[in-house]
């Protein structure tokens, strides 16, 4: 017996309906409304007034926005170099290592902690005369920078905090990738005398490439959304110097009640995120688009 395509048309529709409806009403409808609001002047009380691209023009002339944009760029680059790079190194170090699972554990603990939790810990460590300063004093370093108050240093140290949180999960992803590499070419290369960097360069790295694309794509998308850690550590300050786009959008909308401008920032952020997401979506969907 062969099941004819479309035989279960109505059954299928009833099965997808709850998911499609919830996603449509709670996610897509608001999304379209945000796009509309980004072209209006709106304060939440009177109805939105169409003002064309004025919000976007204002946005690109706003020094706070431009600063937030460069901070976000720093986040993207920083989280690529530190957590992704270090995650790969950790995965390679634990690869085929006895007890590797246990040695990876300390790096995985922070991943279970929320962004605010991470921010709480690290602002405690980095505050003036905090734990880090005390440690440096102990070793004779006295002229410490003000970690959380000076830009762009505060963004850099927050990236370190984010790396502390995220490195373990990247290591886990890379480890899964390494374990799925077929044993035969590895053994053959080993017999041919390939060790260390040569083994990595000629066998492991090429085979990890597809996964690396996914990890990098995920990392970029996640860093573009950076919000919790910054709110937890500097609240975007002092002033607005350490804001990221996600935080600038939140503040302009819910603190300054500039709904149109906030929506325009959200749209901008989304466009950039989508461009980055294509990187890993292509990789994800191309493998499985048999339907």
């Amino acid at each position: 017996m062969t099941v004819k395509k479309d035989h279960y048309r109505w059954a299928a529709r009833s099965f997808v309906a709850p998911g499609v409806l919830l996603v449509a009403v709670v996610l897509y409808l608001p999304l379209l409304w945000t796009v509309f609001l980004s072209f209006t002047s709106y304060d939440g009380l009177s109805s939105p007034k169409w003002i064309g691209a004025a919000n976007y023009l204002q946005m690109f002339q706003d020094p706070d926005f431009l600063n937030s944009m460069s901070n976000t760029l720093l986040w993207v680059v920083g989280t690529l170099v530190v957590p992704v790079g270090l995650g790969l190194v950790l995965a390679l170090l634990t690869f085929n290592l006895k007890g590797g699972v246990w040695l990876r554990l300390p790096f995985l603990i922070p991943y279970g902690i929320s962004g605010i939790g991470v921010g709480l810990i690290w602002s405690f460590v980095l505050q003036n005369n905090g734990a880090l300063d005390q440690a440096l004093h102990f070793f004779g370093v006295v002229d410490n920078p003000r970690w959380l108050l000076d830009a762009p240093l505060n963004t850099v140290v927050m990236i370190v905090a984010a790396a502390w949180q995220g490195v373990g999960v990247n290591a886990l992803l890379f480890s899964i990738g390494l374990q799925s590499i077929p044993k035969e070419p590895l053994e053959a290369a080993r017999l041919d005398g390939a060790r260390g960097f040569r083994l990595f360069g000629s066998i492991l790295w090429p085979m990890l490439r597809p996964l690396t694309t996914v990890v990098i794509g995920l990392s970029i998308v996640a860093s573009l959304k950076t919000f919790d850690i910054v709110l937890g550590m500097t609240k975007g300050g002092p002033g607005r110097v350490s804001e990221t786009l996600a935080l600038t959008m939140y503040k302009d909308t819910f603190v300054n009640s500039q709904y149109g401008l906030g929506s325009a920032i959200a749209v901008f952020l989304t466009v950039v995120t989508l461009l980055a997401a294509i990187l890993y979506l292509r990789e994800q969907l191309s493998k499985k688009n048999e339907f």
Binding site: V3, F15, V101, R104, I109, S114, Q134, S175, T270, N289
Partner: protein, 271 residues
Amino acid sequence: MTSRITRTSILVFFGLVWLLPVYLLVINANKSPQAYNSNESWIPSGTSLISNMVNAWRLSNLGDSVLSSLIYSIVSPLIAVLVGAAVGFAIVALRMKHGFWWFVFVFGGTVFPLQMVLLPLFDGYSRMGLFDTHTGMIIVYTAISIPFSAFVMRNFFTGIAHSVFEAAVIDGASTWWIFLRVYLPMAVSALVAIFILQATFIWNDLLLGLTLSQSDNVRPVVTTLSGMQSTYGGAQLSTVLAAGILVSLPTVTLFMFTQKFFSRGLALGQY
């Protein structure tokens, strides 16, 4: 093998460095607020962890938030897992027409940043009386969990031979029966993996809690922690740090004990 020893020692060294912030968190959350000396962050003293946690539980009604977050992170993923599985079932087992595009539609809900929906949700929730309610929070957490759940379940069901479905049809089973009694039981491991991942995500959420709730008994726990940090940060730092441990303990523990599920979930294509 020497490289084995070198690798192990490098990992142990960095592992210890990685645990330093956790060490600082724990010893300082253990200090009594009265004897707290902000210049001795590295030196353990006192045994006040439990009493600090009890104080934190009362402060800002953290207890209420814990209860709310518990509800959100159980109910929402539970619904999302079933709804997502139904989507996967329709596309894979029932071979829905244009199934791939329906899947792309549902999965697409996870691609853009939440910032894109915050304001209309806030606006709409306020008008419909859903703002600052448990129902409102459950709805939004469910909706954002569905795309990932549909993604994993579609992949999972693709691995089940279609002859399983056809055999059940020949036995005269209805589609609902096949879904509930054949496909779901086979997918328990994937369902649990999604549930745990989404529960962790919801427990750790800040942004939606910040935007869509306000009162102590609706606000999720991380949002409350964030508020406590700004309100009590200076005077009762050890209490706030204890609150941080209290809030983080469930997800860290869950994550530690279910690493296998997590890695399987990740391999199945998390995010």
